[in-house]
Subunit: 439 residues, 2 copies
């Protein structure tokens, strides 16, 4: 039986997922990110010491554990890839070259209550850069460009990366005279859910804001631009603070760099806050055009304090593609398809079982030149063997020639059948592998 | 801190692991196996109903679960990929095309006591074929050929696949007059561990064998051949049984097919038993030359009864590469290396921060043509930037030309520096990606 929150794709959907992973990985490597996998488990205290405590952790216990042994060193499944990465970096700091750029494509688990659209097991594709001491800001400008390259190479709806900077918000709130900036951020983060009036009410009730201060916070959250004009709009609100200036300068760099290298990809969106996460500066969210209501498919930000060893800090910046989440939404809307349900390009027809090894050699010759091929499962009538291919969307059936006659290959879509030699025949490039397409 | 049994590779080792996974996947797809991933968890009763009960299962519990809710539907992490696959097939039988060929490359978990060389989390790469009703035997001959193609394309020690057939053993024991064939198999399976004399003793003590019967079982286990001669050797032992004949005929097909299509890959080894697993016919184990003492790196077999729905059976045959186990052994012996620790092929040197976007464009031009490139982290002295590349094994540093001069690219291994244009320069194929090599 299916288990709520643990999605399983059928093979055609898994093919699409693999194509997404391949594209992500190839792009990450083009930018110089090194591959990493961390173990799936962390000690419970590592999991609870960072990030949101609201993330529900799955604990592990050994079925056959001796009595009384369970509580010793409790292990839990990781709920993201950033916390394990920070642990890995501090644990291996002496062996790594800094700045350290790595990507990590793995499952994560969250023991949430089952509900619509919430996964308990899902795949994330992360990149992060960390350094000892301080990390140059230009890596914050790289994150959206990498993601833009990943997503633009796939048949997906157009992606729009929304960027903000926590220093802008915190500096602005401070400059306004509000002290509990974390609480202000928490309330403003709910804007899309509860609406402007409730945000104002709650700012007044829970963050000690006056009506005027609350309205100013809301005005800040409503600012958005594809170019540097957001900075002017913020300055027009008349708030002064050095942290605000620093944040605006950083956000400008992200927006302007993207505008030059990938126009239309990035927008400054001053309501983006990223909840209670560990971010300290730049924050990213990503929406797919036409799928905005499903939320962000790719998020991240800058964190100064996630990893420390003694007095030494390892600041980082990273971004994470929610692969399962994104594909779950698109599969649910039938927005992605694939041209066949198996990798096979050619079925070698089997005239009779005595010829199986001959047919095996034909299939092997095709494979040696990179053409996915399999021999028919039984020596059924050719009509049934063609059906075997047709049901799976396999485009070609290969017929061994009888008694010295040459082999032939048939495109079962067009019916066209031509003489062919397994050591030289080429499948058209468009037919060699299954083709992924958007709707 | 490292957690016993949960290995973590450094990025160079992960690169090697990924190369193994890529090779496995590409080969599996060439043979027409479709990709599948199943969820990491199964209900506890699914995990315990099949396979060995000695496999220790990791149970999951939600940290924030309501009291009394835990026992409802206990979930455990899967301990192999065959049991979840069998569950997936029966659950989705109506949606799948049979025979169904799939591959699955995933982590599995075993809550074993920590000990040398035993992993609690490890990666497996499986292929299986299942069918409704009956599954043609020729798929049993395909398994070793696929594995042979995977492993021969990697810089690994030569692989030798050892094949046996449970019908041979069971038929032989039965023909000898022994009734508890499962117990005989269990004892004979310990041959390499406890030696011949103890096997004889235990067969007499626990399986009701006479000295003569026990010796005959041992003689069978000592038979081994690269060709069909094992069948004559078995027949010389003078035991008659129809199941024995069936098993010998099947084993001959596996050995002879491999001998013709991939000579030297497969050997009939009649002591191979595969413990208490669910296999009913062909069984496979694989040893790497020079690493025999570390045990099998790739195992599997035919199972007639793993998956059933009502009266309908879904027999299958499969084989599984123990990727973590194999690489753990080879890493431990320093038998595998990689030419650099990052994917980057070219570092674009940064004369000063004002030129960063110019350098970004150079790197982007290289990436567009598939050359992994990154811009230096800071505008340090060129010597330090070259060191950045050198420490990571990156072969090339790119220098932007000054004031209208052309760019140059330097091979920092040879010191050779030539004029180059980022839109046309090609990296030598051997330098484009990190190269994996055996010792």
């Amino acid at each position: 039986m299916p288990i709520s929150g643990f999605p399983e794709w059928m093979p055609p959907q898994r093919m699409i997922e693999q194509r997404v992973i391949d594209r992500a990985r190839a792009t990450f490597e083009l930018y110089g990110y090194a591959p990493l996998e961390t173990r799936s488990v962390e000690p419970l205290d590592t999991l609870l010491s960072k990030g949101e405590t609201s993330k529900e952790v799955y604990l592990l216990s050994r079925l056959q554990a001796e009595e009384g042994q369970k509580s010793d060193d409790q292990l839990g499944l990781h709920f993201d890839l950033t916390v394990p990465f920070a642990r890995f970096v501090t644990e291996n700091a002496g062996k790594l070259q800094f700045p350290f750029k790595r990507y990590q494509i793995q499952k994560v688990w969250r023991g949430e209550r089952p509900q619509e659209g919430r996964y308990r097991e899902f795949l994330q594709a992360d990149i992060d850069v960390v350094n000892r001491g301080t990390l140059p800001f230009h890596y914050d400008t790289e994150m959206p460009l990498v993601i833009g390259d990943v997503l633009s190479g796939l048949p997906l709806p157009k992606a729009r990366i929304q960027v903000n900077n926590r220093k802008v918000c915190e500096g602005f709130y401070r400059g306004l005279g509000l002290e509990d900036t974390a609480q202000v951020l928490r309330v403003v983060d709910k804007l899309d859910k509860i609406g402007a009036q409730k945000v104002i009410d709650q700012l007044i009730e829970t963050a000690g804001a006056s009506q005027k201060q609350a309205e100013a916070c809301l005005q800040l959250a409503e600012i958005s631009s594809e170019d540097g004009s957001f900075a002017d709009a913020v300055r027009k609100l008349g708030v002064q603070d050095p942290l605000l200036d620093e944040g605006l300068d950083e956000l400008l760099q992200v927006v302007e760099t993207a505008r030059e290298l990938n126009p239309g990809l990035v927008v400054a969106e001053l309501k983006i806050a990223r909840g209670l996460d560990y971010y300290t500066g730049t924050v990213y969210e990503t929406q797919l055009e036409g799928y905005e209501r499903f939320g962000s498919v790719c998020s991240g930000g800058r964190y100064e304090n996630l990893a420390t060893v003694g007095n030494e800090k390892f600041p980082g910046v990273g971004i994470s593609i929610g692969v399962s989440r994104m594909l779950g939404v698109l599969f649910g809307q039938n927005a992605l398809g694939v041209s066949r349900s198996v990798p096979t390009c050619v079925v070698v027809a089997l005239p009779n079982e005595e010829l199986r090894r001959t047919c095996d050699r034909t299939a092997a010759a095709l494979r040696r030149r990179g053409i996915p091929a399999e021999v028919a499962p039984t020596a059924a009538k050719f009509g049934k063997q063609i059906q075997y291919a047709d049901k799976r969307g396999i485009p070609y059936v290969w017929f061994p020639g009888r008694e010295g006659e040459p082999d032939t290959v048939k495109d079962i879509r067009s019916g066209e059948q031509v003489e062919a030699d397994a050591t030289t025949w080429e499948a058209p490039a468009a037919d060699l592998y299954p083709v992924i397409s958007g709707s």
